[in-house]
Homo-oligomer: 210 residues x 4
């Protein structure tokens, strides 16, 4: 997305240093719901690939005892909680509690004890109990998978930074409906907010139990 001159200025100004992974770890799966796996609603691009890649990530997280949180976009049945986000994308208001498109995809279904966050904003932290829950469960480094890279993933990464967590974007486990924004946002996040690592690199590095 960004040309070589774009990259040069970031290098010259000292952006994009590596982050250190600090145990304990946790996993956040963002908006992997049926409606984002379906191009007729909010899907497309490489989102299905990201879901497929996340199956083993979730299995490993559970095996290692990491706290796991899932997010869903859920608006009220009467749309009383409509906001600027739904003003920009009115079809979001179809993501109601009981709607099939707002259910987490079967391959990544939550288990008891995992947090399921309902949200009406891009970030999994905005207007939710996610930050407090992660801190209660001792998380310091947060592995982030989900969709879309240019939307709810990036917004959650930003708030994870503010909340004092080390955010790791699991590159092959995040997806977007369009590849241009996917890559542009990986670029921004790598330069300023997060470490971007492949799933297998994450799982090899983060072996300490939570």
């Amino acid at each position: 997305m960004s040309g070589s001159s774009d990259t040069e200025v970031y290098v010259k100004q000292g952006f994009g240093k590596d982050l250190e992974l600090k145990a304990p770890f946790g996993l956040l799966l963002i908006d992997f719901v049926n409606g984002f796996a379906d191009e007729a609603w909010f899907g497309g691009g490489n989102i299905r690939d990201a879901i497929a890649c996340s199956v083993d990530l979730l299995a490993a997280a559970r095996e290692r005892g990491w706290p796991v949180a899932h997010t869903r976009i859920v608006f009220a049945d009467d749309a009383s909680d409509a906001n600027v986000f739904s003003d920009k994308i009115p079809s979001m208001l179809h993501l109601t509690e009981a709607a099939e498109i707002s259910q987490i995809v079967p391959d990544l279904a939550p288990r008891p004890g995992e947090l399921v966050v309902r949200k009406q904003l891009p970030s999994g932290f905005a207007g939710t109990s996610l930050q407090g829950w992660l801190t209660r469960h001792g998380v310091r480094t947060l592995m982030i998978a989900g969709c879309t890279t240019s939307g709810c993933v990036r917004a959650s990464v930003l708030d994870a930074v503010g909340a004092g967590f080390v955010p790791i974007v699991v590159r092959d486990c995040v997806g977007d409906r369009a590849i241009g924004p996917h890559e542009a946002n990986l670029f921004d996040m790598e330069k300023k907010y997060a470490q971007i690592l492949d799933r297998d690199t994450v799982l090899a590095a983060a072996t300490v139990p939570a």
Copy 2:
């Protein structure tokens, strides 16, 4: 940045609806400090153009009585408040209270009664009193200028959405050190979070006093 097929999926899925400007209005100027006007530090690209464009925007806001807030990145002299943002970009820690590079550019110097927000994170809202101040002063629609488009502007827009304000990104008054990320983030914001309008369009539309 995004190819035509990228744009198509957004159109098909109903993204990017227009937002309605609701009075009262307010103005937020993000990180227009010396260090972001200087390519040797964090500047470059079209940031100086954005500063020049913002002079008349600020004058008009003052004339119309809009509440005006400015942000600066300010870290503690002992770097005790270092965070993931400064881990990624260690030179940010030079932006201390008294440093010349952390002072607002002379052309946009704050006046008494305007809020000057010190922050250590991209968003002007994160860990600051900005939201409460805007609400106290009655703001509903927030005009946003500043830098960088791909960093602190976008992060502030996201939080403005969460805080219930209508965010208007003043296109010619926002800038970035590199044009690729500038355009990619205007694209994302237009599709999902904000209205993007030229300065003169904003000033023509928002004539109601605060």
Copy 3:
């Protein structure tokens, strides 16, 4: 609750100035659910009186077109979102989505378009979309009724202050399971955070439509 010498120091130090009511107005009803109307669960004291008093307050708010928000404490069925608040009061975890004790009392049942906030913390603002919703709907002064005075009412008042709203505690529409804490907290709020006014005074003063 506080003796005369307690009061004197507050007067001498200049606490407890009056707040100005600024339109537009909104109404927040906190935790008026069956379980807080029932002394076998979380009720007692003057909570039933506060509910009775709130019926006409709610009717007036609707007639005047004020935005109305209700809160309920709702924990997940699997208690995955347990927190320090529920650690201190484990029976709170019985307040699940479908539980009869977590439903809003019939006399104050929400209408379509009114916000119903699920929360797991004392404040109606903590981890919820309440702040953004109130701002979107233009509220500047927030009338607050509910229970308990020493718990969720006070916590919500504190966050209303932080969010830039003028908080008005409607004295006869707030209640607590025990009168000592009820009065002690009215005292604290009056000195430091809010205006305390009787319902009829509020309704006489706040005649401007939202």
Copy 4:
């Protein structure tokens, strides 16, 4: 403060369970500034006793390597950040950056690397970087000293609960300008939000290094 019948209802309804101390620990010292040690400004009651008690608490925290954060109330020189809190208590606006009354008392002066939080609201968390800083430094249980018990201590405890920390109020290290509100707020916090422990009990229990 609360009569025996007040206490009975809390017992019957299952309030006030003990909290478990979880390492790592941190220390928060709230508003121990000259103006709160001086009855001519905001002091009185048992605040000086709380300061004296906190000297050894701070020394022990440093010896054990706990992260330490201090808060100060600091309003802008031009009062541009006035809010409802300062509307209720206008003399708060004298607590500016350079004012002698807003400086931390010499016996508890911060050391390099300790966080010094400027705030304009009761809670040390509201509009500040405190939550993110504590999480970055790994804190799970937060020892809280400071003043006043009925004001900034309680507000900080509430937000600590929301942020997922276990809040421990160090009973002899918190103080208030008046004893009635001091005791009433210890009662509320013990029943609903925090563990209340004497300093020596805290130091005996929390021996694990951070």
